[in-house]
Subunit: 334 residues, 2 copies
């Protein structure tokens, strides 16, 4: 696999105003005090009050542009990498772009969606267009309102999620720097296609088929955590072998930091054990944000930069699973 | 712009079983006999009976694979390029992949969405990954059920649409052949972001907010045809100038065929006049299928191959507008 001379230039994040504690959810779910914190490992998550996907996305994007030292006019393409969009039509990228600056016109905007892996999929694919000069700077934005689709009758899943947005500006690596995307891979195992899903909202169950409590659950998030766990455990080790088979000079041990999708504490600990990742390498930060779907991995990158756990020249691995069921990873020199 | 040595190897199409005539819609819309045919130019469109997006997509994909002389195992990536998906989660690409062969596992599957231009956006972006060897063969599938989201109180828009799917297998051009993607461009003008939309279905208006006739229209397609017409007319000529500025050796006059998004007869005739495209070049086929959203352009390619209006070595232009408002085009040697 040809390394791509692409750099993550700047990142941004937005967390909604409303802070929801584990204790609040203990009450909501009718559980003993301390249950949510213990089971989910998430002490705090943020839920939107009045924020929209496009507003959160635009705020994260503005911070990413600022940190990149660039303005919107420097951007050649805007890709929204959310799992669930703001409207059925048009693309959420168009709505984020409008929110960023309603007077700015002409930048191509579209969506890439592989649910929780959307950001990684877009970073992977767009890196080729930057490397070959089609685009200079590209803006990737993940913005998610998980809270609206949670099933509070399903404690196991609803206690995991949080809302929020994260964004990145990516561009060509300056001549004298070492930033590279070295490896990337995604595999989809459709035997798990219905293990995590929202059945409604598209053409299968149009919103007009909503009939209150009779079929509300078709429009809410549904997952079989144990089955996903098993399927992931089965494919993860060989997936990682195939990923590193593209470049025998590096192994997972060489990673300065591994930023996993913060699916759940259980899923992340499974990954760590199965793949021989050390506790020091594994970057777990969901305690204060929960699982923010597609925004989870870029939020991890943002947080790792802030905590100085990801510095220029470091070898970094992004790794996650997504509805589909997909497994995805990307290895880069930051 | 560097030409990409990518070939459209095989194409497929699926049209739903139920044929809906213009006369049937005259009645449904309470219009004089002949009104729908005259205003829309669409004599026949197909509406799904029991077909789903993934079923239609899989059937179109199977034909594309057959016409390419390939099997699913030859495919390195599956991209669903629909405007509206089957479920909110997971990606529609995963569901089409499962429908294609539930026993086949491991091909990466994800969605690219720019509404009516999704297929063109994906063809453009994936071509770079094929050209540089990341992928060999890629399957692109657009599958749309427009009929479920039409607002029958809005005759102007509801008479235009049809359901259906189209698919393409793309791959590297064989050494001795001339197939190339020469030019591609997309521009988004968010001043038109709300000129064609479905406001509901995402996080803005979650399906649970559906209250029957009180807000049904928020979950149906809404468009201001005249405003889109004006905005497109304003930007199209300069868009085309910027597109061809990348290669001064060709002009729109050199195109053997121009395959426009079959938005509406009025929109296509506007394009033709404004851009100096001849009647012979302009490929209009919506009479028998209507506007099938993202499946429209690849359906045109399928039809042009069948009618022998697009042969190997021919210069072809794909051109369309999409919700966003986006304008997109791609010029290739077939």
């Amino acid at each position: 696999m040809k390394p791509r001379k692409v750099q993550i230039i700047g990142m941004g994040r937005y967390l909604p105003k409303r802070v929801v504690t584990a204790e609040e959810l203990d009450q909501k779910l009718g559980l003993q005090k301390g249950s949510v914190a213990k089971k989910s490992g998430v002490s705090i998550r943020h839920f939107v009050e009045d924020e929209t996907v496009s507003q959160m996305g635009a705020l994260a994007a503005k911070e990413a542009l600022k940190n990149a030292g660039l303005t919107l006019s420097d951007i050649d393409c805007i890709v929204c990498t959310s799992g669930v969009g703001e409207q059925a039509i048009p693309s959420t990228a168009s709505l984020i772009y409008k929110e960023l600056d309603p007077n700015h016109q002409g930048i191509p905007a579209f969506d890439i969606n592989s649910t929780c892996l959307s950001f990684v999929t877009a970073l992977d694919h767009l890196s080729y267009l930057i490397d070959c000069g089609r685009y200079q700077n590209v803006l990737l934005v993940s913005s998610e309102i998980a809270s609206i689709g949670l099933n509070w009758n399903h404690a196991e899943s609803s206690m995991l999620f949080g809302d929020g947005a994260a964004a990145a500006v990516i561009g060509p690596t300056p001549e004298d720097e070492k930033s590279r995307i070295l490896l990337s891979r995604m595999e989809t195992y459709t035997q798990g296609a219905h293990l995590s899903e929202i059945r409604g909202g598209g053409s299968k169950y149009h919103p007009r088929t909503y009939q209150g409590n009779i079929n509300l659950e078709d429009f809410l998030f549904d997952m079989d955590g144990e089955a996903i766990f098993k399927l992931s455990a089965r494919y993860l080790p060989s997936f990682i072998e195939r990923l590193f088979a593209e470049d025998r000079s590096i192994t997972i041990k060489d990673m300065k930091i591994v930023i996993p999708h913060q699916a759940s504490m259980m899923a992340m600990r499974l990954m760590q054990r199965r793949l021989g990742i050390s506790r020091e390498q594994m970057f777990i930060f969901s305690e204060n944000v929960g699982n923010t779907i597609s925004a989870s991995i870029p939020m991890g990158m943002y947080e790792a930069i802030k905590q100085q756990k990801m510095k220029r020249g470091d070898l970094v691995m992004l790794l996650g699973t997504a509805a589909g069921l997909s497994i995805g990873s990307l290895v880069y020199v930051y």
